[in-house]
């Protein structure tokens, strides 16, 4: 059964926040930082309530949060996602270059660059066959 049939549209974005926020808080708790874990729970609960309330509206943002937007709203979502991806890639690339120049281990930034580049090539290959 799909997530879309299990949860009403309004609660999907809320559920994502609760599940991933809960997982992050649980991991933080297990690491021993109990204070920060509680703060994360509070932050994600407040964010979930805000998202639930906003998603019940009739704005473009509400429709995108409910994942039931029309073609223009979906294109807004895709465009915003594209800009977000560009920003993340730029930060990862710059951080990698700066850390390497400082003689430090770029660590996770290299993985982000690698996964980003590889997934772009795969996506391009697959999308090219569909259009």
């Amino acid at each position: 059964m799909q997530l879309s049939t299990l949860l009403p549209k309004r609660t999907r974005s809320t559920a994502v926040l609760v599940v991933f926020g809960g997982a992050l808080a649980a991991a933080t708790w297990l690491s021993g930082d109990h204070g920060f874990a509680v703060a994360l729970v509070v932050f994600y609960l407040v964010a979930a309530v805000v998202v639930y309330l906003v998603a019940g509206g009739s704005s473009d943002v509400a429709a995108i949060m409910r994942t039931d937007g029309d073609e223009r709203q979906r294109s807004l979502d895709h465009e915003a996602t594209r800009w977000s991806g560009i920003a993340m890639a730029a930060v990862a690339l710059v951080a990698t270059v700066v850390l390497v120049a400082q003689g430090k281990d770029p660590g996770g930034y290299v993985w982000i660059c690698t996964v980003g580049g590889f997934s772009y090539v795969v996506a391009l290959f697959l999308l090219r066959r569909r259009r």
Partner: protein, 66 residues
């Protein structure tokens, strides 16, 4: 791209929300199309034309720089 959506909608006495509901899109999308900020997909353009019982070419007209 110029269009006559606002003119045709007003002539029919429809609000943006009502036209959007009939076409399965939001009021904001109808507003964006009327303002020329959003160019609808071919299926939506055809749905708009069918709604006003006319053709896509009659509603949407390219401008010089299109």
């Amino acid at each position: 791209m110029k269009n006559r959506v606002r003119e045709l909608r007003s002539a029919g006495g429809l609000s943006q929300g009502a036209l959007g509901a009939e076409l399965g899109v939001s009021r904001q999308t109808i507003n964006s199309i009327e303002q020329g900020r959003y160019l609808p997909s071919l299926p939506l353009a055809m749905a708009i034309a069918r709604h006003f019982t006319t053709t896509v070419e009659d509603i949407f007209e390219p401008e010089e720089n299109d």
